[in-house]
Amino acid sequence: MIKTLIVEDETFIREGLKSLLNNITSELNIIGECESVNDAVKFCRNEMPELVFLDINLKGGTGFDFLNELGDVPFKVIFITSYEEHVLRALRLGAIDYVLKPVNVEELNEAVQRAMLISQINNNERLEVAKNQLIGKNNRIILRMSEGHQIVNFDRLMYCKADGGYTTFFCDDDRSFIVSKPLKEFTSQLPEDIFLRVHQSYLVNAAFVDRYDKSRYLFLKKGQKIPVSVRKKVSVISRIFGGK
């Protein structure tokens, strides 16, 4: 049985979530329900939940305020959120699970299953990435892979390449990571002022570009050759080299 805490200020939604969770699994043991940041912090100092369902808007603050108060986060977190686009982007960058309100049973199930399977390595870093992203100071992305989570700094990431439904991340230390999500997912997460979609299958870090060749290829400082699509040629050149 997994000790579970629900932090949500709306009674009806809290109750609704509880009944949905009961339908999904008998693995969860709901040990507490909190409405405000303070209550949640107090609860966690006494009890040791293993999984927390966390709303963004709470009485007396936000879900992130709660996590900040705690400092170390030893439990798995599934956010419950309604609409805030910028929050969702931050959560995706940190590879943090979330469910949208009103809750879809299948999405909830997937999130719960994943939370039960995956180890909590890099848990704090992932939350850190999301928090930094929210205050505009993030420079990392967390990649969720079958083996676990991988932190990748923006300034070490040379380019991403699409390969069917997968995306490969190439770093400047010759490491590469394959993630089972399409490139499109990351185009919206990675900052546009650093990473350029030069081709349908390529997202390139502008800082690593060495030169543009007339044959419509970008050559990176480490010698990699990246094709540029006809449609994007002009905008790519002007973005990377300025002017022209």
Partner: protein
Amino acid sequence: MNRTVLIIFLFVTHFIFAQKNNDEFRAEASKELLMRGEYDLAIQWLEPYVNSDNYTRFDYSYLIAAYLLKEDYVNGLAYSNKWLNISLSIADTVNVINALNYKTDILYFSGDIEGSIEAAEVVLQYYTPKDSVRETVTNIRLGGIQRQNGNVELAYTIYSKIDLENVILAGSEAEYFGNSLNIYRDLGMVDSAIYCSNEALKYSSTFDEEFTKVSQYNAIAAIYIDAEDYGAAMEYLDSAIAMSLDKNRRNYEFVYENYAVVYNKLGMIDSALVYVHKLKDLYQHIFMEKMELDLKDLKNQYDLELKFKTEIIKKEEDLEKSKLQLLLSVIIILLIILIAAVMILFLRNKNLKTSRDNLLINQQLLRTQITPHFLFNSLATIQGMILQEESSKASNFLSKFSRLVRLVLNNSRDRVVSLSDELEAIKYYLELQNARFEKSFSFSIRLDKNIEDKEVLIPPMIIQPFVENCIEHGFKKVDRKGEIDIHVYFENDSLICKITDNGVGTDAVIPEAIVPKKESLSTKINMERMKLLAKEFKTTASLEIVDRSKYDAQGTIVTIEIPYKYD
């Protein structure tokens, strides 16, 4: 390199020689044409050269000679004068002399004896000692003319000075002796006259001497008439008439005259009368011809004038045309400017309209953006109620929710909505929010009696964002039960909406990352909207947000001066 120079050199020299050969050939050919009597052909050929810069003296000589032989003295004189002037202007003495000699001849043949004498006297001044031969030629001509002019003594003086050697060198023996015999005859020196006539006949054999020969035969006949040897006279007259006499009619005159005299002296009055008639016909003919020529000249002049006039008319027409064209182009340019101005105005207007449209779109976007968070939360609330089997609560919530959504959708379609509709929407909104948090706050909406609520129109969704702000942020951090008071009233013709809450107040720091700039952005856009509408409605718009700590209380007071108009 050297080879190229050589080729160029060869080419140039060849060209020069070809040119020279061409000139020489033309001179030879012209002479041949004149000898064959093809005067018109010669004129046609030579005239273009004379009128270009590329002429030689032969071109002028043969052209003038052609006119002379054709008896077209007008053109002949014109060209000799032209040649004379050109030659004078470049001090070409040789050709001045040539031109003057031609002029002398032409004037003589055209009957202008005085002019001819004058020209001959001028040319005599140009001669230098080495021109003695040519001077002789001129003197021979001048003497002959002076005799014809009646100055026989003067002619005799001129001829007595002539050196016979020069006459032979010039080859003018025929003319010299022909004129001499006339002079001697006029002076009654019969023997000398007969001697001269025999000499003259000896030399007059070449082509142009036929004419001279006729006049010589005639002159000898006249001498024999003077000597009363009518048989000899008749013999010479027959010889003269036997020549092809059609060449120069002037000779007929004297021949016919002499025939008449001879027949008269012989007492053959009938025959004499025949020649008198012939003479009369000839004079008539010459007169007619002269008339014809004069008419032709007149016609030429008339044609020239006509041509000139038509040119003037044409030029005037062109001027008119160009004036018209200028006028037309000015009109077209003005039209273009006008159209451009209209288009610029139109585009600017369109731009203005576009910016206004943009604002409207912004407004609508804003409206749809205000609601999503609330929308999904409300739906989640309904989901929770259903899952808890609170069916009556869920049903109640759902009906209010749909009423609010309907009002918001309706209101957002219009630029202005009635105040009562707007307040109704806010009431539903507040009720729904209250239901979500199980009566966590209380609210009141107050409308002053002086407001005819149905008739007042205001921009939609001005009040709602501030009310939403109270609930979503104002009450979140405080534990006390929330209170919202919305008060709408008139103050000095201004429509005021005052929203008072007991929440956290504006002085409290709200973490901006979680509550992003959306609120401030929406406030900004709302203000823009309000100011734009205020201008249109001729009212004022303002916004004031005050923390109630000023008044020793907790919470915020938002005072909005809303632009409005009456329905």
